[in-house]
């Protein structure tokens, strides 16, 4: 009987010790994880997609941008960098001049990006340009944020029918890999 009683206490104590150890290591791990991407480095490499010279493909170009500990701020910075255009002379921008990002938010697996009216007003038109504008935004966000599967483009806070009169932009878009050329243009820094 006595042995059984002691045994019971031993089990409880060892379980408590086990839980304590596990919790200790778990929380410690998390602290380390949080430090790596956002606090230690001041700059971070992001993937951006620009138009090829012949407008047949989107080409990946890596840029270094200041790191941010806020995902939404980070995403906004990435889109701002996309608006600035490519560094390589062989690549072409995909966002019309004067366009600004107004707001960006995530809901479930969809990113909503709200642009100023210049996205439509200053767009050159043409199916090729329109497809490249849409999918440079969509592919850039989906490749930097793997949890984001869809991107909804908004202008001045609203869903729009179309950017240039060709493609339906009322629904969110999925990543389009067939447009991407498998050629790497390295950052010039």
């Amino acid at each position: 009987m006595k042995i059984k009683k002691y045994g019971f206490f031993i089990i409880i104590i060892s379980v408590l010790i086990l839980i304590g150890t596990v919790l200790f290591f778990l929380t410690k791990e998390e602290k380390i994880k949080l430090k790596i991407p956002f606090i230690t480095p001041k700059e971070i490499v992001v993937e951006l997609y620009f138009s090829s010279k012949d407008a047949m493909y989107l080409v990946k170009e890596e840029h270094r941008i200041p790191a941010s500990d806020n995902n939404l701020e980070h995403a906004k910075e990435i889109i701002n960098e996309l608006i600035q255009g490519p560094e390589s002379k062989d690549l072409f921008p995909t966002i019309p001049e004067g366009t600004q990002i107004r707001e960006l938010y995530f809901h479930k697996n969809t990113a909503y990006v709200d642009f100023s009216s210049e996205l439509v007003k200053n767009h050159p038109g043409g199916s090729s340009a329109e497809i490249h504008t849409i999918f440079s935004i969509v592919n850039t966000l989906t490749s930097n944020f793997p949890k984001i599967k869809y991107v909804q483009i908004l202008v001045e806070g609203r869903e729009i029918d179309t950017i240039g009169g060709h493609i339906d932009t009322t629904l969110p878009f999925k990543q389009n890999l067939s447009l991407i050329q498998q050629k790497r243009v390295e950052s010039r820094e």
Binding site: S51, K108, G126, S127, G165, H166, T170, K174
Partner: protein, 431 residues
């Protein structure tokens, strides 16, 4: 002795059930328009009663026609039509796409659809009143113009018009004959029905929307209007029995939705949208033809949208009636039924034009185009050249190039038409 009695009792009970089951295997159609009663055999699937389309056509006195290439059955009554796609739940009711609870099913050479769909959608399509009594298996059809009398005392019920007791031998009953083969007899005249008879030409942009703008102020809307008008004239000369319609014939604005709406309303058999391209790079050049992106992509997009809306509903507790799910799912899916024909048409135009005009071949491509997505006919969008490229802009603006472009597209359409109609003949003769 007890065993014998009880087994007899059980047997007799079983036979009653059997008889009842047998008696229930027909649906009684009470047709108050033509004053007749019709018994139709039905089948059940997932608790739904299904009737064959050929029977339904006879009940509504509609003409049913079968297109062996597109696997479509069209029920036509006067100006109204309903199009069913075998193996698909998508149905076109006049110019609207709707969804059935289950796909149109092919059983022993006959196509079956749910009675529920007849009740829900036929009234709107054929301008009648349909009511369905699921328990007694009674389908009643009434005229929409029929006004019920104010006094109900002298109004005979349906039962009085058509006594449904099993004793009546002189009921005005018609039994429809079922053939064992497919009931859609394909004759020469029906092949005629599916020939290409109307072609819609859609010059892009117009009016307040100039489209892409090139050097020296060359405008896409002007270039494509000129090409489209020439193409229309060439087609009128080449295909004498085909109606050629333009979505705009001068410089005015036509909203995107109205272009496809017009094409569907005019029951177009081909939709050709003419555009000029632009890119951020002024070096881009060449010719390309677009069709609608594959179904998987667009379905995923539409479903993602629905999914998010559903989640929003849960969170914000909006009454569910405010969102029309079928509209979201069907947005852009009408064209999916014609995607194979559209790809073939795009390929023929791409090859013919690039070869004849010695243009840079950028290939056929797909995207989610406004003017294509809701087209209930094979549909393509042609990007004739880059107005953003100074050299190509000048070329696009020249009379000679516009003529040659129109001629080459005309040749391609004529070739597609003859290939399509040959296939129609072959399929016809095989059946």
């Amino acid at each position: 002795m007890r065993v014998l009695i009880s087994s007899i009792l059980i047997l007799s009970l079983l036979s009653i059930f059997y008889l009842e089951a047998n008696a229930n295997s027909v649906i009684t159609v009470i047709d108050n328009i033509h004053h007749r009663r019709i018994s139709l055999e039905y089948i059940t699937k997932d608790g739904e009663e299904l009737l064959s389309l050929s029977d339904i056509a006879k009940v509504f006195k509609a003409v049913s026609q079968w297109n062996p290439i597109t696997k479509k059955i069209v029920l036509t009554k006067g100006k109204d039509f309903i199009t069913f796609n075998i193996g698909s739940a998508l149905v076109q009711v006049n110019n609207q796409t709707v969804l059935m609870d289950m796909p149109a099913e092919l059983v022993t050479g006959r196509v079956f659809i749910p009675v529920k769909f007849v009740k829900d959608k036929f009234p709107q399509a054929f301008n009648v009143i349909v009511s369905w009594d699921k328990i007694n298996k009674k389908l009643t059809i009434d005229n929409k113009e029929f006004n019920p009398p104010v006094s109900l005392t002298n109004t005979p019920t349906v039962e009085e018009y058509f006594p449904l007791s099993s004793t009546g031998t002189e009921e005005p009953e018609e039994k429809l004959q079922h053939g064992t083969k497919t009931p859609f007899i394909i004759s020469g005249t029906i092949t005629e029905k599916f020939k290409i008879k109307t072609i819609i030409i859609d010059p892009g942009h117009g009016g307040k929307d100039p489209g892409a703008v090139g050097k020296h102020g060359i405008l896409e809307k002007d270039v494509v209007l000129a090409m489209a008008k020439r193409l229309a004239q060439l087609l009128i000369n080449r295909l004498k029995d085909v109606k050629i319609l333009l979505t705009r014939d001068s410089d005015y604005f036509v909203p995107l939705r109205e272009r496809t709406g017009f094409a569907n309303y005019k029951k177009g058999d081909l939709f050709i949208s003419i555009h000029a391209n632009a890119a951020f790079s002024s070096y881009a050049s060449g010719f390309e033809v677009y069709y609608l992106s594959p179904e998987s992509d667009e379905k995923a997009r539409a479903l993602a949208a629905v999914e998010n809306k559903v989640l929003d509903l849960e969170e914000e507790k909006i009454p569910s009636k405010e969102i029309d799910y079928t509209q979201l799912i069907l947005g852009g899916l009408a064209q999916q039924e014609f995607i194979d024909e559209s790809i073939e048409l795009a390929g023929i135009i791409q090859n013919t034009v690039c070869e004849r005009l010695q243009l840079e071949d950028r290939g056929i491509k797909s995207a989610f185009f406004w003017v294509i997505k809701d087209a209930m006919m094979p549909a393509v969008l042609i990007e004739t050249g880059f107005i953003s490229n100074p050299y190509e802009a000048e070329k696009l603006n020249s009379e000679d190039f516009k003529d040659k472009m129109a001629q080459a597209i005309c040749e391609a359409i004529v070739e597609y038409k003859s290939l399509y109609e040959q296939k129609l003949e072959v399929n016809n003769n095989e059946d």
